[in-house]
């Protein structure tokens, strides 16, 4: 294990950003944290997590795919790919680190492969940071995630004086090898881990029961009458899908800029009515079907397709951001309760 005094954290950030782009969570003027490129003077946010998830760095909200030029009957296809440079993300929480595994199964390992996503994943080094103060909206434990042992290329912990680092992969070792760090005992972060686990043991959602969900539960849960009542007040705003670290639905659209047409993909949401609207009909005609789709996909369909892995990481962003206070925890509790 390695360590650095907290007083020297800027030295560490400078050393990393001298070689490659370093993203750290920083508060904006309204105190909302987001991952942005490090520049001298920027202070790392003390919030538990960023408002939007770290998925932006691999699966950006908007991304150019290709450009076209039109000239009468002639179309020219023009490369729109920009060179992606190696980067480091510092301070990813354990929940978001799991979301990368979930997205990888869709964009990295599934055929055909997603070149854009793969390139970013391959060129990134993820430094996670244990959560010293998990909040009441956190329920990562329900998905077997331990906020005291975050995954990633490098895991990091902090106490009052220091940051501690442990490399988990070759990429992680390569990153740490070039940094101004001191050696630390292997058990240096144990006290921090112990304190975190004391908090997680007290979290109100720690015993969230997922036993009613998972592979093979489609027939059992799809026609549950509770979908109608749960979705009744859903506004269909899509906020939950935009802050969600595992939501992966996207649209492909063209923008005609006059000289060139830009084809891009951008996040989309299964909560929107035009998501599935066809000239021939609408398979999900009301918010009930759209709402059900989102949660069934996370809790049943995705696990069905991916060896039981749930497509939720318990980060709690949707609990904090939903304007009508509906969320996946309420769904799990209502649909999952004994009947």
């Amino acid at each position: 294990m390695k360590k650095i005094s907290k007083a020297k954290i800027d030295e560490l950030f400078k050393a990393i950003s001298a070689k490659e782009t370093l993203y750290i969570p920083v508060d904006d003027s309204e105190g909302q944290a987001a991952f942005i490129p490090y520049a001298e003077g920027l202070k790392m946010s003390e919030d538990l997590n960023t408002v939007r998830s770290a998925k932006d760095l691999f699966f950006p909200q908007v991304e150019s795919l290709v450009n076209f030029k039109m000239d009468g009957k002639h179309i020219e296809i023009i490369d729109a790919a920009t060179e992606k440079k190696p980067f480091v993300i510092f301070g990813v929480r354990a929940c978001d680190a799991r979301s990368f595994d979930i997205l990888d199964r869709v964009f990295y390992y599934a055929e055909p492969k997603d070149s854009f996503y793969i390139e970013r994943r391959d060129k990134s080094t993820v430094v996670t940071l244990a959560c010293n103060a998990p909040e009441e909206t956190c329920f990562c434990g329900a998905f077997g995630i331990d906020p005291a042992e975050p995954a990633g290329d490098v895991s990091a912990w902090q106490d009052g004086e220091s940051f501690f680092f442990k490399a988990n992969t070759e990429k992680g070792e390569a990153l740490l090898a070039g940094l101004p760090l001191e050696d630390a005992a292997d058990d240096a972060a144990d006290k921090v881990k112990e304190d975190i686990r004391k908090i997680t043991a007290m979290l109100p959602l720690k015993d969230l029961d997922l036993s009613k969900f998972g592979p093979g539960k489609t027939q059992e849960l799809f026609n549950d009458p509770a979908w109608a009542t749960l979705s009744e007040s859903c506004l269909g705003c899509g906020t939950c899908t935009f802050v969600c670290p595992t939501c992966q639905c996207f649209d492909i659209r063209d923008f005609d800029g006059g000289k060139e047409i830009r084809r891009y993909r951008c996040w989309d949401s299964c909560m929107y009515s035009d998501f599935t609207q066809m000239s021939a009909g609408q398979p999900r005609p009301t918010q009930k079907e759209r709402f059900r789709q989102r949660f069934m996909h996370k809790l049943v369909y995705y696990p069905d397709m991916h060896e039981g892995l749930f497509s939720c990481v318990g980060c709690g962003r949707c609990l904090r951001k939903c304007p009508i206070h509906m969320n996946i925890v309420k769904v799990i509790k209502t649909i999952g309760e004994e009947k």
Binding site: L65, F107, S115
Partner: protein, 275 residues
């Protein structure tokens, strides 16, 4: 050029045939003048006009056609309106083929095949029917029941009359919804016609058409004693990526673009009824 499944290739529309008042057939080759790719009957491809949009269409031509691929497309939205307004020689972009296709070289082999189509629903079946005609010895009896609103709405009518109906190995049963002076064939809806023909329950059925046709034809076949395992259809849902990622065509644990569009009815029974 950056390589990714979502980045299309250039295609050229070399011929446009008017099939009906709202259906045209588009012949497409690659930028090199050759067939853009090899497909399985029932598979689809993404066609686009930059600035207008991209949409998924059934490939109508048989894989046995070596020179080009064809799409019979009904005018019903932005992309299709544009396609219908263009002239031969126009570039389009193309990517594919996508989906599973029909099991023409496995489950269909040695079987008596009954194709049931309504309106533009003939498009995906056209590819299978012509594939089966080209490999006639691999299949048993071939029957086609095809219906449309009127005579003028029958897609591929000339080919059906000149080729299909003149062949010994294929029985074509055409029907239109309402009587017309120049029509001396069957009049009535497809589901009723299928039941009237009393097909043997050992046949493998392949259906494509409007949802209401599928619903009543299926009910008729069930009454006759058909097994849902022997009835195939091809689904249509909104799609953007066609590679199982954008989320639109997700039904239960399946993506229509990747795991379909061809499903047997016993497979559909396992999925939520959301299509």
């Amino acid at each position: 050029m950056y390589e990714d499944a979502l980045i299309p290739k250039l295609g050229v529309v070399t011929q446009i045939r008017v099939e009906t008042p709202d259906v045209k057939t588009f012949r497409v080759v690659g930028a090199d003048g050759k067939k853009p790719f090899v497909h399985i009957p029932g598979q689809c491809a993404m066609l686009s006009i930059p600035g207008v949009g991209e949409a998924l269409f059934s490939i109508t031509s048989s894989p046995t056609v070596e020179e080009y691929i064809e799409f019979s497309i009904k005018k019903c939205g932005c992309v299709t309106d544009w396609l219908h307004s263009m002239e031969p020689g126009q570039n389009v972009t193309i990517r594919g083929p996508y989906g599973n296709g029909f099991p023409v070289d496995t489950d269909f082999v040695g079987k008596d095949l009954l194709f049931v189509a309504g309106g533009i629903g003939l498009a995906p079946l056209h590819s299978v029917i012509n594939y089966c005609r080209a490999h006639r010895e691999k299949y048993g009896q071939i029957d086609v029941v095809y219906g449309s609103r009127s005579m003028g709405d029958l897609v591929d009518y000339k080919e059906i009359l000149d080729d299909w109906m003149k062949e010994d190995g294929i029985n074509v049963h055409l029907t239109i919804d309402n009587p017309q002076p120049e029509w001396d064939g069957h009049v009535g809806f497809v589901p009723n016609y299928v039941t009237e023909l009393k097909p043997d329950i050992s046949k493998t059925v392949v259906m494509c058409g409007p949802p209401v046709m599928i619903k009543f034809t299926l009910a008729g076949l069930m009454d006759l004693g058909f097994d849902r395992k022997n009835i195939y259809t091809t689904l249509e849902l909104r799609m953007k990526c066609a590679i199982g990622r954008c989320g639109r065509c997700n039904i239960g644990s399946k993506f229509v673009c990747k795991d379909g569009p061809v499903f047997r009815f016993d497979e559909l029974d396992e999925l939520p009824n959301e299509y």
